[in-house]
């Protein structure tokens, strides 16, 4: 179309119409109101667009975060379940301890003792058979590398002497009769008491008093008596 039209009497005539013919009318105010709304909406449009975009971005990010969290949670659950199901754990049968049997000694009946009935035993002291499950020992992770690692290994010690087994030395205790340990006390200052002479055959293990005394008493200081030889003696 051309901006500048050639002279056209019909067009000029129609363009010169300033009034509406009969049967052709429109409400200018109504059309303007609609147009005004459209114009104002167009002005607000960029802001609305920005808000919508921001809202969409926020929703999308929230949705992705939620989805990722959900996915990781399901992965963790499945991993743990699989590991639990697939891990060959050999749980040993629970160790059962046999309750000790109370055996009454018929051959040796207890005398002067109160008869104890089993009903009188308090519950706290009752024997309880328990089974302790043994947990599987976790296998430590091992690092697998293709690199060669220098490891220092101590060379075996070459000894000329053969290893001697050291046997524990057992102490030998002398067998002593009970009556030998107890002896009637002897009167120290009795005149009637026979003098005891130590013979060579006397093998009594009782140590002399002197030795016993030295265990818990301070050692007596030796008394040195000095005598001087004078003319009076």
């Amino acid at each position: 179309m051309h901006n500048e039209k050639p002279n056209n009497p019909l067009a000029e005539k129609l363009d010169g119409m300033n009034s509406l013919p009969e049967g052709f009318g429109f409400s200018a105010n109504r059309v303007w109101d609609q147009l005004e709304n459209q114009l104002q909406y167009r002005k607000r449009k960029p802001m609305l667009w920005l808000r919508y975009a921001a809202a969409i971005v926020l929703l999308a990010s929230a949705a992705t975060i939620w989805f990722l969290q959900k996915e990781t949670a399901t992965l963790k659950d499945s991993f743990t379940k699989q590991s639990i199901e697939q891990a060959p754990v050999n749980i040993p049968s629970p160790i059962t301890k046999e309750a000790p049997e109370l055996m009454a000694k018929k051959e040796m009946p207890l005398k002067n003792t109160m008869p104890i009935s089993t009903s009188e035993v308090p519950e706290s002291t009752a024997l309880v058979q328990t089974s302790i499950p043994i947990e599987p020992i976790p296998i430590k992770d091992s690092i697998q590398t293709n690199e060669t690692i220098a490891v220092a290994i101590s060379s075996p010690v070459v000894t000329t002497k053969p290893a001697i087994k050291s046997t524990p030395i057992r102490k030998k205790y002398p067998v002593v009769h009970l009556y030998e340990l107890y002896r009637e006390p002897e009167p120290i200052y009795s005149k009637t008491a026979p003098k005891r002479t130590i013979t060579e055959t006397d093998e009594s293990p009782v140590a002399p008093v002197e030795t016993n005394r030295s265990f818990w008493l301070p050692k007596p200081k030796p008394v040195i008596i000095t005598t001087s030889l004078t003319d009076n003696q």
């Binding site: 901006n3 019909l10 129609l14 119409m17 013919p21 052709f24 059309v31 303007w32 459209q38 167009r42």
Partner: protein, 185 residues
């Protein structure tokens, strides 16, 4: 207010200037739209959309003179009408063989008053009046009309001939009616 100043203020998106422009051109643009479209409602809607397009395209418009500015606004309105015709009226012009151009004297139309001419044009079918408006009133060539409407040049010419023939018939009927009215008086 001068049109240049008015358009400048409209570029700055001042609502008062836009209202001034609307009040100044709404009637002529409504009549323009009504020449193309079937009813007043469609013409109103088309005019409103045309004004929106004008306000939107104003920042890119360079004012030269009043005539060019008015023609620019009219062109936008016509394009809006054609868009509406394509969308709502399903403008379908049957391709016809090139009919011999009927020499019709436009003098008969020139003698008509503007209102009478307007009413005669609105009585034409959509296809006829579209081509007539574009060729006779807007001054487009058949090639341009064919490109605009998606038809051949022959179709455009035949449609124009038929429109002219129909206008002559309508004009004859109108003359007969007026003569009859005069006789009764």
């Amino acid at each position: 207010m001068e049109l240049a100043k008015l358009l400048q203020e409209c570029k700055e998106e001042r609502l008062t200037a836009q209202k001034w422009l609307f009040d100044q051109f709404s009637t002529s643009f409504f009549l323009l739209c009504r020449r193309y479209l079937r009813n007043n409602e469609n013409a109103e809607e088309c005019m409103m959309n045309g004004f929106l397009c004008i306000f939107k395209a104003l920042p890119n418009f360079e004012y030269q003179n009043d005539g060019a500015a008015i023609n620019w606004m009219k062109r936008i309105m016509v394009n809006e009408c054609l868009r509406s015709l394509r969308k709502k009226e399903h403008l379908l012009l049957v391709a016809e063989e090139l009919a011999q151009e009927i020499p019709v004297a436009d003098n008969a139309l020139d003698q008509l008053a503007a209102e009478e001419l307007f009413q005669l044009i609105t009585q034409l079918p959509i296809g006829y009046r579209t081509v007539f408006n574009l060729h006779v009133i807007e001054g487009l060539k058949h090639g341009e009309i064919a490109q605009e409407l998606g038809i051949t040049e022959g179709t455009s010419k035949s449609q124009l001939n038929k429109a002219r023939m129909m206008l002559q018939q309508l004009l004859a009927v109108k003359n007969m009616e007026t003569n009859a009215q005069r006789k009764t008086k």
